[in-house]
Symmetry: C2
């Protein structure tokens, strides 16, 4: 049994009010895979890179017990590259460079050893490719989680709607939920989106936490209030990876476990933003995570006897 993550494994160059980086390793599958690996030891990545991708980074995946058999390395080609600059509020950013490179004709290959996939994380990519991965798995996974973004709503809405139909959990942010549903109220937006297919909807609200919707039930998770957000890149992917990794660990998919999974995902995301790129995410200990979870518990618990 395994947890398959598909998404970008790529280079980012990031500028924030706190500093800037040269090309560092990023990508949705990188963040999600690393996050999931803290809970589950059968994480397997599907991605494509160029031959410029450092061997050491592949080693780092292996050190986290992540299988890279599904990462195609294209000789003579370059990895996907994104450069962006965050504004002072850290909630908005400008894209400075997008070089698709190997991503331009990415045809995901699912190795035979990945066919035991029980948990599938579709990181942000064209909805077409996300769908292809579902179809190339011989057996439908027990749980499919899909992340996406406004970009695909703008240019590939039909594909997006078709893919959404096939998944169990959709994760998007509040602006994207409003765009996808045409509703301002997130409660109404959630009703419409759940009618599009997914059984669960997670609306990510950044510093305001996240909402989980399922039928008539709602769970509101707080975000940890942070003095400094150093680099928000990958926080959403880290959240999704921690979320599905925790569910793979507990092995039972239900609303209560999803609530906990959201707290674990939020905890990992709160680490991710403390340093540039995957730096913080690569070196967490069990105690780091335990202590952070405890912060979430005291942050949001109250005791009313009515």
């Amino acid at each position: 049994m395994s947890l398959v993550v598909i998404g970008t494994v790529a280079f980012d160059a990031i500028e924030t009010p706190f500093g800037k980086t040269d090309k560092i390793v990023g990508g949705a599958a990188t963040y999600a895979g690393l996050a999931a690996s803290y809970f589950y030891d059968q994480v397997k990545i599907v991605a494509v890179v160029g031959d410029d991708f450092p061997e050491q980074e592949i080693e780092d995946f292996h050190n986290h017990h992540i299988s890279t058999e599904g990462i195609q390395i294209k000789t003579g080609e370059k990895s996907f590259f994104w450069a962006g600059k965050y504004h002072n509020d850290m909630n908005s950013r400008d894209t400075l460079v997008t070089e698709l490179n190997v991503l331009a004709d990415f045809d995901p290959i699912i190795p035979e050893s990945y066919q035991d996939c029980e948990y599938l994380m579709l990181g942000n990519l064209t909805p077409q490719i996300q769908q292809t991965v579902i179809k190339r798995l011989h057996k439908r996974p027990k749980l499919i989680v899909m992340d996406t973004m406004n970009f695909w709503m703008d240019i590939a809405m039909d594909d997006l709607l078709e893919t959404i139909k096939l998944v169990d959990v959709l994760t998007i942010n509040d602006a994207e939920a409003r765009q996808l549903s045409g509703e301002y109220s997130l409660v109404k937006a959630a009703r419409k989106i759940l009618a599009m297919g997914p059984k669960y909807l997670i609306i990510k609200k950044g510093e305001h936490g996240a909402l989980l919707f399922n039928e008539d039930r709602i769970f509101a998770a707080p975000a940890l209030p942070l003095a400094d957000v150093f680099d928000p890149t990958g926080a959403g992917d880290t959240f999704a990876g921690g979320f599905i990794g925790y569910l793979a660990k507990v092995g039972t998919v239900n609303f209560n476990n999803m609530k906990n999974a959201i707290i674990y995902g939020s905890a990992l995301a709160s680490f991710c933003v403390e340093k540039f790129g995957t730096e913080r995410l690569k070196h967490l200990t069990e105690n780091d995570i335990k202590a952070r979870i405890q912060e979430f518990v005291s942050l949001s618990s109250f005791n009313i006897i009515s």
Copy 2:
């Protein structure tokens, strides 16, 4: 022992995407007083109105066991009047009319029967008047809660800072916390504001809930996700009134009780926005409140055994 609320008792004309009202009764002290009255039966209002203010509305206060001895009625003058129009997102509004009328030279009178004040709610008003009320009480109340807004930061910052020094709890929204502190991070903003005097800071984030800060502790309360926000007018005042009313009821001021008080305040605010003006707030039952609190509990509770 009593809970004294000072603030406006006034007329509003409100336009929202759901409809519009003629002049209806509103004002910070009206909302806060009604909200507090559901928890505590010794609520006393300090305010000023003109002789255009309906006798029935004063009766309604009495029906809620609220003392109106401190409401001055100015013969031949008109009550404060505000008209506003909410935008489609319900988070922003335009002020269409502000007629100060009796408020222009409001000199708050504290009746002798109010001198047993243990809990003082300073509803949004000029910081100068808020301060006068504190000084006119012979004995400092056990707890002083102050609500204010960006308007006073723009035109009366020095007065505001002087008044803030004297209170225990300050309630403002996130934009106001950023303006008051000059910090974008709410954690840093809170540190600076707590250094200005108050022991507790509540940052109201509307549909995203509220944060309570005290020394190094933080509590994050969710807001109830609502399908329709009919009229947000008075929600902040209702929140503050419910908050201090609950604390007056339990009688002990500490962080744990404040957490519960925020949930009760949020619950009452969630009723407030369901109808225009005070309509919903005037007719709550104990069971309504109990059921709503239960919704908050299931909304935010999770159970992680680590």
